[in-house]
Symmetry: C2
Subunit: 332 residues, 2 copies
């Protein structure tokens, strides 16, 4: 295992310590310090948005706690869901009296613990809504969208829902908007090499020296095919072939677009991918608004990239452009 | 070679195409399009700042062209200096009539071409000054500082000099400030794994599965020692032992600090390093101002990290805090 760490079992807690030292606008809370909140606490009268998930995906999940984005995050071990108690603490920390939206990626462990936390807090009288983002088209067919996993598209949904909540919308309105944003978003990823999970010291999956896995999930979940690595343009074309059909884009449509590195893949190569994606969309008369190219949802040092496309209406476009600020992203 | 690209020889140009498509505030100029400028062009009456260097280091170098930062950048092939003609075009593009500062890292090829470009444009009547940043303490002893290479500390110097120029200082003042900022900055890096240079298809260096090279340069230049990877805290302590002495920090001093990934090393591990660095500096009564933790100067998918520390006076601290904006970094 070739990673910069001390005790592999302290990886997450030492990371959280460093994060909060570097960004004092974030604070650790909860038993064990596995809840990240904004220093100012919940905003009275604003719908709170809580997320959560396993570690090892920075900036996802906790990195999007900030102004115009999320209020709190329950933090699990690397690639493991947060504990139910941390989900509860995160929800309490996000509650400004106008209700709390649970907004997270569709993974089994996260879902179970967030569901139990929601039931318990509803009994105490908290208004709770829940939206799971399931943007990874490679993880299940369109007819079974509820089985799809959430990947980098989650970031765009955070942004839209965060702006809606910041604008003073009710819990029902923020939840409806988050659902709309998730429904408008599709993603797919390609993996070139694994990452090493600190606690096991083992690679998250094995792959040949010249191979790519097309459609692989961010924890190494099986994709659509595995074979020799193709040129960037061919990869981009095939990614678009999987992502675009369900969005039914027409000439004149506008989309938000995220070309995301899974970790090791450098920015240079993301721009080579973006070049082709932009060319294809321009050819169809589709306008890309505020493209994001960078590391927005990773698996530590995994090599590979993902593409997320969100079809915009006027409301989504305005919400994505609203001011927001967190340690990893700022929109002005 | 496992990289997302088309033709290895088109790596840089396709990257530049994608970059300018994603960030229309940047434009390609010059014969061959190897000069990156701000769309608005030179700012009349402002000192222009030009940089340049090899590709494969995003966001360095061209990524720091932007408001309150740099005016233009001459772009070389991967790990190769820019051509003299591109240095000349970049300088012309940066010239708003108040003179041009060449501000770049201390590498032989870059130096030669920038020197020749400066001579030619001085003959045409352009006011030119030149400051080379040489912050890598591992690359030569203190007595031979002029031989040291420039690494990630360059980013902090860009920021300070860019703010000085934006504030309306003269060429002499901006050059003096850039020199002061460079003199106040020291860096060191550790490398865990190489990157692959697209044109050769070969790794930039070889290193054992359990080894680290302490003090290695960003192109794989030899460091101080090579041996088994140490725990993060021990690495941080040893990096500080090399970086701090020349800065002669005393209790009450304030520093800017950058914990930088060379590419593949994930943000999680940068925060584990930052945790220890912050602890050590706090123990000495030194305050870290606006720490930067992330990917600011990379070697594509190389694994490793660097630490840069700049000792601040009131002027440097204010300049680092001044507003700035480029595709990869924004200060508000």
């Amino acid at each position: 295992m070739k990673k910069i760490l001390n005790d592999p079992h302290a990886y997450v807690d030492e990371m959280l310590d460093g994060l909060c030292l570097a960004h004092p606008e974030l604070q650790r809370r909860g038993e064990g310090g596995r809840v990240i909140v904004r220093r100012g606490g919940a905003v009275p009268g604003k719908v709170g948005i809580v997320t959560g998930g396993g570690s090892g995906h920075l900036p996802v999940f906790l990195g999007y706690v900030g102004e115009g984005l999320l209020d709190s995050c329950a933090v699990g071990n690397v690639f493991a869901g947060p504990r139910m108690d941390d989900c509860i603490d995160a929800m309490r920390a996000a509650d400004g009296g106008a209700g709390v939206l649970q907004l997270y990626g569709n993974y089994g462990g996260d879902r179970m613990n967030f569901d139990m936390a929601a039931e318990m807090l509803a009994l105490e009288g908290m208004q709770v809504a829940s939206v799971r983002v399931a943007d990874d088209v490679a993880s299940a067919p369109a007819a079974q969208r509820e089985k799809r996993r959430g990947v980098a598209g989650l970031v765009l949904v955070y942004k839209a829902a965060g702006a809606k909540a910041a604008a003073g919308a009710t819990l029902d309105e923020v939840a409806a908007l988050a659902r709309k944003a998730g429904d408008a978003c599709r993603s797919i990823g390609v993996a070139l090499s694994p990452c090493v999970v600190p606690e096991s010291g083992k690679a998250s999956f094995a792959i040949g020296d010249q191979e790519v896995e097309f459609g692989m999930g961010i924890h190494g979940e099986p994709g659509i095919w595995r074979g020799p690595l193709k040129p960037a343009d061919a990869l981009a074309d095939e990614m678009l072939e999987h992502v675009l059909p369900e969005l039914a884009l027409a000439q004149g449509d506008r989309v938000a677009l995220l070309v995301n590195s899974l970790g090791a893949t450098p920015a240079e190569e993301l721009y080579i991918l973006y070049r082709r994606v932009a060319e294809v969309l321009a050819g169809r008369g589709v306008t890309i608004v505020r493209p994001l190219v960078g590391r927005y949802a990773t698996s530590m040092e995994m090599a590979g990239a993902s593409l997320s496309v969100m079809k915009l209406d006027t409301e989504l476009e305005a919400l994505l452009a609203a001011p927001a600020d967190c340690p990893f992203w700022s929109v002005r």
